[in-house]
């Protein structure tokens, strides 16, 4: 029953690696191919050619692509291809970096089509903002903000329903029966007379039918696939080694490029002595581009040796020269005055003065690297007609296409992007300036264009390379209302905007405030009559970016730990205290109650153990978490997480559970020990030994409970991150009476009397 997927075919045959004796192949050799050759007694490893045609040449599955239809009408042709072999290929306009959209989006089509899951396939869409824009982003094709399912939901339901109607119309023509008498189940059309046909048999005739302008989508009560458990489309290829990631791309004659970037952000190249680098065997060229100095070589090993031999003088006159402690001192200093106003309701200053019980707290959040398992990389190849092919785990196709085109001096239509599997992203592959595409394009522009170039980041390049979640400082003062609840809340944030100066600024800035800096605070759900939220930008040459859950990655910790503090100060149960302030937020209350009930919140625990709760909405998805911890001295073990999520209609419960525990694990790893710090402007971390992710031994037992819902589906890739740190922090408080506010947690502070 497992459906072996065909990911988008990528161009014609290409040799594997730089070594000619291996022969040529379109893909890596399968074990069976190798066996054939070894059985013949040959010592040379070889591969068997497989036919491979690009998506443009042929529809996946070998069938006929339906003609494209422009406009807002249902577009089965842009998204659904039914082949003679019965396979149904859904064109996926989003990047799948693990979050499962290559399963989730085909599920929506399969549901409306009444296809069998085993016949479903997918192909990554080409870069085409006309056909494949993210409806949440406007005229831009891209993936982010947990929008993939949410923006595709109606689009793909209509596409699937239209394709279904066209199949039925084809059956009506063939069988001369009324449409109302044709049924479809698991990919087979039937009539009571006994006539039946598989999708493939009717595909060609269906393609000739007019596309219906008005289609009927299913009533959710009739869903057969949505909400059930079935296999991800990518499992086989990701377990047998055939899945091809960007780093696996090999093109004929390809050079590997590594770049030396400045060790301080904002520095530029003053002069380069590349004599020793060029003397390294295998090094082909050394080029200076605005981002740094790139070494091009026959293989990765030579490229790295060449880079190590470069002697570069940097101009640090505009570089970040501060150390982390100085940055924090500057942030604290900025926090002495009021920043740009994000929200003001009532009069928080006055209410704080007149109130009896005031709680004050400060939170410090570090810079964080995304550190996806597959480091950034991108291959660019110049075609005979002067156009270019890019191969990458492309996340912002429209931006990357435009940036690459501008860098190479061609129009965007001369840049084709072939999206392949990405080994994680967490936001890193999506940048407002298409950063690593721009680097690859700049390097290509400096060569004669005769050989493809594969720009690769080492892990050190990744960890030291910036685009960090910005450092943040929060200062909060809140006052209890003697009648219950919170009378006033004054919240000041200091942290760098990564929207400023980008194409996103006009949309993301509201009243002089970067909305991603204050999201989760300025829109907090709690009924606080006097609320003041303001923000100071903290400009720096250090490059920053959204990081899984964006602003919520720090604001949830500040708000949910503060709320816990206030509940404690009020002598109230943390759940009851929250619910009393969430009268207009039933979905928050729903997940809060569900998590608390499933976790046994409120039970008495033995000494040394603690249970904490947090709730947070991000990207229109509501998540509550209860953490259980065991504390022995300064050692803290997170034993269990009970998670409740409300993400509307649960399209694939297994993927939702995986994303919830995955987001929690990602957030927990960062909260336990991750930080990027600077010594006189130089990043102090370099690899996983100094930036250590969550390990298997750290992962708590996780339970995920999904709230049944008929609301439209919302994203799940990011919302699992925000509540985990505060839930753990609040659990540690319950166990010890000590607050861990800043991240990563300073467990050593638990040892202080």
């Amino acid at each position: 029953m497992y459906s072996k997927t065909q990911s988008a075919p990528i161009g014609a045959s290409a040799p594997i690696g730089e070594s000619a004796p291996i022969g040529t192949a379109e893909t890596a050799p399968s074990r069976r191919d190798i066996l054939k050759l070894s059985a013949a007694g040959a010592l040379v490893l070889g591969v068997v050619l497989r036919g491979g045609k690009s998506f443009a040449e042929e529809a996946p599955g070998g069938g006929k692509a339906l003609l494209a239809v422009p406009g807002d009408t249902p577009r089965p042709n842009a998204f659904v291809h039914i082949a003679a072999d019965d396979t149904v290929t859904v064109i996926v306009k989003h990047l799948d970096k693990g979050q499962g959209v290559t399963t989730g989006l085909p599920t929506i089509v399969a549901e409306e089509l009444d296809a069998d899951w085993s016949q479903m396939r997918f192909a990554f869409a080409p870069a085409d903002a006309q056909l494949y824009n993210n409806l949440a982003f406007g005229p831009v094709q891209g993936t982010g903000g947990s929008t993939s399912v949410a923006n595709s939901w109606n689009q793909l339901r209509k596409a699937g329903a239209a394709a279904r109607a066209m199949l039925i119309a084809a059956a009506v023509d063939a069988w001369k029966v009324p449409a109302t008498e044709v049924t479809i189940e698991k990919g087979v059309l039937r009539h009571k007379s006994g006539k039946s046909a598989r999708f493939g048999e009717l595909a060609e005739a269906a393609a000739r039918q007019p596309v219906p302008m008005d289609v009927h989508t299913k009533d959710p009560k009739d869903f057969r696939l949505i909400g059930t458990s079935f296999h991800r489309i990518d499992h086989i290829e990701k377990t047998d080694g055939t899945a091809r990631y960007a780093l696996d791309i090999r093109r004929p004659g390809m050079l590997t490029a590594v770049m030396q970037r400045p060790e301080r952000f904002g520095a530029t190249v003053k002069s380069v002595d590349d004599a020793a680098a060029r003397a390294v065997k295998g090094v082909v060229d050394v080029v200076t581009v605005p981002q740094g100095v790139a070494v091009l070589a026959e293989n990765t090993w030579a490229a790295r040796q060449g880079r190590d031999a470069l002697k570069i003088a940097w101009d640090d006159s505009k570089a970040e020269m501060r150390s982390s402690a100085e940055m924090l001192a500057d942030y604290r200093s900025a926090a002495q005055s009021q920043g740009a106003l994000a929200l003001k309701s009532g009069d928080a200053e006055q209410a704080l003065k007149s109130s009896g019980k005031v709680v004050k707290a400060e939170f410090v959040f570090p810079y964080l690297a995304h550190a996806p398992m597959e480091p950034l990389n991108c291959t660019v190849e110049k075609a005979a007609d002067g156009s270019y092919d890019f191969y990458a785990g492309s996340q912002f196709q429209t931006i990357e296409q435009a940036v690459a085109a501008a860098t190479l001096g061609v129009t965007p239509d001369k840049v084709r992007i072939h999206t392949v599997w990405a080994g994680g992203s967490f936001g890193r592959r999506a940048t407002p300036n298409g950063d690593y595409f721009a680097e690859a394009a700049a390097i290509m522009a400096k060569t004669d264009g005769k050989r493809p170039v594969h720009l690769v980041y080492t892990r050190e390049d990744d960890i030291k390379g910036g685009r960090y979640r910005p450092m943040f400082f929060h200062a909060i003062e809140a006052a209890l209302d003697p009648k219950g609840g919170v009378a006033a809340w004054k919240h000041r944030l200091v942290g760098q905007s990564f929207m400023k100066g980008t194409a996103f600024e006009p949309v993301m800035f509201k009243g002089g405030v970067d909305s991603t800096a204050v999201e989760g605070v300025a829109d907090m759900p709690y009924a606080v009559p006097n609320l003041l939220v303001d923000w100071h930008d903290a400009p720096s040459p250090v490059s920053t970016l959204w990081w899984r859950s964006v602003g919520h990655s720090h604001t949830a910790q500040a708000v949910e730990v503060m709320i816990d503090d206030l509940a404690h100060a009020a002598g109230q149960d943390p759940v009851a205290f929250r619910i009393a302030m969430l009268k207009d937020h039933p979905r928050h209350v729903g997940v809060l109650k569900l998590a608390a009930e499933k976790a046994g919140f409120g039970e008495t625990l033995p000494a040394g153990r603690g249970r904490g709760i947090a709730v947070h909405e991000s990207f229109n998805t509501f998540v509550a978490m209860v953490a259980d911890v065991t504390v022995k001295g300064t050692a803290v073990k997170v034993d269990r997480l009970v998670i409740a999520v409300d993400c509307g209609i649960a399209i694939n419960p297994d993927i939702i559970r995986a994303q919830m525990s995955g987001g929690a694990g990602y957030g927990l790893g960062a909260a336990l020990r991750n930080k990027i710090t600077f010594d006189k402007g130089v990043v102090e971390q370099a690899n996983f030994d100094s930036y250590e992710p969550l390990r298997m031994s750290d992962m708590p037992v996780v339970e995920v409970h999904i709230v049944p819902s008929q609301e439209p589906p919302t994203g799940v890739g990011e919302p699992g991150v925000p509540p985990v740190a505060p839930a753990v922090s609040n659990a540690v408080f319950a166990a010890t009476g000590k607050r861990l506010r800043s991240l990563p947690f300073d467990f050593d502070s638990l040892g202080n009397a």
Binding site: I16, A20, L45, G98, Q99, R250, A371, N687, F688, D689
Partner: protein, 176 residues
């Protein structure tokens, strides 16, 4: 460069990869990972850190998990290397791979090569490991998506599958 023809020449280093003898005329200091990926086109083993920290590049060397990114070619001389592509002894999936499919244990999937091969070696040594042993064994393999829960489930499932077929258990980590 690369694998040579028929008889190993002087200056070449010969080893066995997935049951086939391969000879490389390359410096002994070159990392095995580069040769597997660049010269043999075996992309199952992944580059993740280049420091032996993350386990994405794991291969089995004589049945024992090794970090191909820091394993010099000279050290692999004469040894039996199994990569993810060479794991199954018949067309289809090895039971450990099947268990990862059953447990839906992929997100981005980039760490799975190491997770699967480390599990194969673990189960070859101890067919029914306890929870603590599983976690300890896999703690050197990093996953950034947070697929830990499903991967742990997959290892337990693999122990079940391998236990139910003695044949598969005996096959673990061996060449096909």
């Amino acid at each position: 460069m690369a694998p040579t023809s028929t008889a190993p020449e002087s200056g070449t280093i010969t080893l066995e990869v997935n049951g086939t003898a391969v000879a490389f005329a390359r410096p002994g200091t070159v990392a095995l990972l580069d040769l597997l990926r660049n010269d043999l086109g075996l992309n199952g083993a992944k580059y993740g850190c280049g420091l032996g920290q993350c386990g994405a590049c794991t291969v089995l060397v004589d049945g024992v998990p090794a970090r191909a990114c820091i394993l010099p070619l000279a050290v692999a001389r004469g040894r039996r290397v199994t990569t993810l592509e060479g794991l199954a002894s018949a067309p289809g999936l090895h039971p450990v791979q099947q268990a990862f499919v059953d447990a839906q244990a992929a997100q981005c999937g980039y760490c799975l090569n190491g997770m699967i091969l480390t599990t194969v070696a673990l189960l070859a040594r101890n067919p029914s490991p306890g929870e603590a042993e599983i976690r300890r064994e896999l703690s050197g393999n990093l996953c950034r998506c947070g697929t830990h829960v499903e991967i742990l489930k997959a290892v337990r499932r693999a122990a079940e599958l391998m236990g139910s077929s003695g044949d598969a258990g005996a096959d673990a980590g061996r060449r096909p």
